[in-house]
């Protein structure tokens, strides 16, 4: 009797709670609302390469199956996402429905009228019920001047990956201590990063090198982090003159150039993919990169022919994760999904973005290596499913969460793209052989020219807002 009563109560409880659960699930709400647009299609901007595979091979077909809305994917190289989006806006083509926004460029996107305010949609379709679940480090990205323009779909933070087996090897530990006078462990400073790289390279080359880094593309992220770790400030706030060619800048850039000497021949040409492949293949003992490497090196959820070019991992269960040297990893890029003001199907576009951003769907996305989407919700870090994905997953998620909390935000002012571009070119010039101080001076001159064009006073106001954030300089 008691058993029957218990079952009945449980059934009634479940029945009563089910609608509430569905109502609170922003993913389910998006699917339900999107069904009214069945038969239509939306065009989604995705970063060319691995990112776009998520939309084209997984989420897009799944969304079509669930709602009847077809997803067309436009792939753009990372550095062309912003300019192409602005060009489409200027031409008024309405070619994109869902746009991809790098948070540092949100202000510029808004000032160019390239993104739709989303506050009304967020309330209307229930995404607001899940906002508290977003890591505060990333929630800040979504709004500009008090309005919401994007929903986080990718929470980036740079991570240090190292070969635990080599670092814990007694012979290596002894040899390293004898040579450098301190213990071999995950590097806490960039000097230690360089020491470890040289030590392991000396011992294992040419089969393996002490470290690998990314030297082509995205270089402004790596320089920005080191520059601030050495106490650098981007501008002199009083004059708004560029301060990137300061002592901190020289130290950061010189370090970046010098460290290459202890790495694989041709390291100067390495991008994200080369670095990932080398770590997977056991050709490097340590690197700094984005979170997906944690999933790739473990080989989880890799079942796609399109990914066959990446060497199968030989380092599963051998990789340790650490917060970057200096303790403040760059929150390098990340992505928001937004809606184009020229979209002819804004509601359908928004609902796809909400679904991708929702607790339920985003958890699936951030557990896949493909798509390069990384945890950005508290529920991602605390998900038992994720924590049990592999032996080290819990430690990996902890490093991502702690790193994000302590991380440096990307510089975000007016015309950020131009400053980023100039910085990347200066870093690559130095890596290509130019004297670091000369490269920095060129960068500073270009920055001053950009600031002059924007207007020093106008830029100062934007800079002050950004610099006031705790994640700007971490003092």
């Amino acid at each position: 009797m008691l058993k029957r009563l218990f079952i009945t109560a449980a059934f009634l409880g479940l029945a009563a709670s089910t609608p509430a659960l569905a109502e609170d699930d922003a993913g389910a709400a998006a699917i339900a609302a999107a069904k009214q647009y069945s038969g239509s299609s939306i065009t989604v901007v995705a970063e060319a390469g691995l990112q776009s595979l998520l939309d084209s091979q997984y989420s897009g077909p799944e969304w079509e199956q669930l709602t009847g809305i077809k997803v067309n994917v436009v792939e753009l190289p990372n550095e062309e996402i912003y300019p192409k989006t602005i060009l489409e806006k200027q031409a008024g083509t309405g070619g994109y429905d869902v746009v991809l926004i790098s948070p540092a460029l949100l202000a510029d996107m808004v000032n160019n009228g390239a993104v739709e305010p989303l506050d009304d949609y967020v309330k209307k379709y229930g995404a607001d019920k899940e906002l508290d679940d977003i890591n505060p480090a990333f929630r800040d990205w979504m709004s500009y001047n008090g309005k919401t323009y994007g929903l986080v779909v990718d929470g980036d933070v740079l991570v240090t990956y190292y070969r635990k087996d080599l670092f814990e090897d007694p012979e290596n530990q002894k040899g390293f201590k004898e040579k450098y006078g301190y213990d071999l462990a995950a590097p806490k400073t960039y000097k230690e990063f360089g020491d470890i790289a040289c030590f392991l390279t000396e011992k294992y080359q040419p089969a393996m090198y002490g470290a690998g880094v990314i030297n082509t593309g995205y270089t402004h992220f790596f320089f920005s982090e080191r520059f601030r770790a050495h106490g650098g400030k981007f501008f002199d706030e009083a004059t708004m003159k560029a301060a990137v060619n300061s002592e901190a800048g020289l130290k950061a850039l010189t370090e970046m150039v010098e460290q290459n000497k202890c790495m694989s021949p041709g390291i100067e040409t390495w991008g994200f993919a080369e670095n990932l492949s080398a770590l997977n293949a056991g050709e490097i003992a340590m690197t700094i990169s984005w979170p997906p490497l944690g999933r790739w090196t473990q080989g989880v959820n890799i079942d796609d022919k399109a990914l066959s070019w990446v060497p199968k991992t030989v380092v599963a269960d051998k990789i340790g994760y650490a917060i970057n040297p200096g303790g403040h990893p760059q929150l390098a890029s990340g992505f928001l999904s937004g809606v184009s003001p020229d979209s002819k199907n804004k509601d359908a576009a928004y609902l796809y973005a909400q679904w991708m951003h929702s607790k339920s769907q985003s958890l699936k996305n951030v557990m896949r290596p493909v798509g390069l989407r990384d945890p950005f919700r508290i529920s991602h870090y605390e998900s038992p499913e994720y924590q049990n994905l592999w032996g080290g997953a819990k430690a990996y998620l902890k490093v991502l969460q702690d790193g994000a909390a302590a991380g440096y935000a990307d510089l975000s002012v007016i015309d950020t793209f131009k400053y980023q571009d100039s910085m990347s070119r200066a870093v690559i010039a130095a890596i290509g052989g130019e004297d670091p101080q000369t490269a920095l001076n060129t960068m500073a001159a270009e920055w001053d020219q950009i600031t002059e064009t924007v207007g020093a006073d106008k830029q100062r106001e934007a800079y002050k807002v950004w610099a006031a954030k705790p994640s700007a300089y971490r003092e």
Binding site: D108, G266, I431
Partner: protein, 303 residues
């Protein structure tokens, strides 16, 4: 003699231009379209160049000559122009000499001539973007054959970072350009050589003229107009070189291989400095128009 040709001879003008009004009516649509598609964008650029249109300022205020002043003070523009002219000065003679030598070689009948001509011309039909990507792979330090061949000669592993090191990147672009466009010179000059009058060559031979004398006194003057046009086309192409540079280096490392076109693309379509870029476009159009007009006049092609 037909009525049509007699009209032509009598008036010195084609038959359809016999009456002034009719002639104008015939050419007016074409002239209008030419002006619309040719002159209008130029005039529009001129107007925009006096404004401050940019990505973050789409209203456009009139600012007079400010963009031109800024342009003349911008060292990056002059550096890009210098690099473009240097590339032109090195690549053009190389393409011309190699193309001419190949054309002279294939002028006479040779075994499998058609096959070889087709193979030589192949690079010119490839999209420059594809050619740039292909050479990027060819020059890759790890997988590309270029470094491996050098290593065989050197007898040890060679790591030449062609698209990363500033002193090599220029050569990488040069190699790609010469590889792709020498065939263009070759095919044009081969056609020109085929039209050199045999009688003159035979007469010179009978008179005992040497090979060099025949070439410089008969062949070269005969192909000069075609050669001039080929040089002009390639010079203009090289001046606006974009694809190969973009695929190989994107103007890097730093700005070390940035050409005028790359500069304009970055400032116009990535930084959205619309008016500033328009000012550069106007200056370049004027300079190039003058240069081309003078060149054509010199070659007496406009006659």
């Amino acid at each position: 003699m037909t009525a049509v040709s007699s009209t032509y001879i009598k008036t010195g003008r084609p038959f359809w231009a016999g009456r002034r009004g009719t002639g104008l009516a015939f050419v007016a649509p074409a002239v209008f379209i030419m002006l619309l598609v040719g002159l209008f964008p130029f005039l529009w650029s001129v107007a925009v160049s006096f404004q401050d249109l940019a990505g973050s300022n789409q209203t456009g205020n009139w600012i007079g000559l400010a963009n031109y002043k800024k342009l003349f003070a911008d060292a990056r523009v002059w550096a890009a122009l210098g690099r473009t002219l240097l590339l032109l000065a090195v690549a053009l003679p190389l393409e011309l000499i190699l193309g001419l030598l190949l054309a002279l070689h294939f002028q006479s009948d040779r075994p499998l001539k058609r096959l070889f001509v087709a193979l030589i011309v192949l690079p010119a039909v490839v999209s420059p973007m594809v050619a740039g990507s292909m050479w990027r792979l060819m020059l890759d330090h790890k997988f590309g054959p270029f470094n491996q061949i050098i290593a065989w000669f050197a007898g040890e592993a060679v790591v030449l970072l062609w698209v990363i090191k500033a002193h090599l990147a220029f050569w990488a672009i040069l190699i790609t350009e010469v590889w792709q466009w020498t065939p263009f010179m070759f095919i044009i000059l081969l056609a020109a050589l085929a039209n050199v009058e045999r009688e003159q060559l035979e007469a010179a031979e009978i008179d005992g003229a040497g090979r060099f004398r025949v070439f410089f006194r008969i062949v070269l003057p005969a192909i000069a107009p075609v050669l001039g046009i080929a040089v002009l086309i390639r010079a203009l192409d090289l001046f606006r070189i974009f694809d190969a540079v973009w695929q190989l280096t994107r103007g890097g490392p730093g700005n070390k291989t940035e050409t005028v076109s790359i500069f304009m693309y970055i400032r116009g379509f990535q930084s959205f400095e619309t008016s500033y870029t328009a000012a550069l476009v106007v200056i370049l159009l004027i300079v190039l128009s003058v240069a081309v007009t003078l060149a054509l006049k010199r070659m007496e092609i406009t006659r």
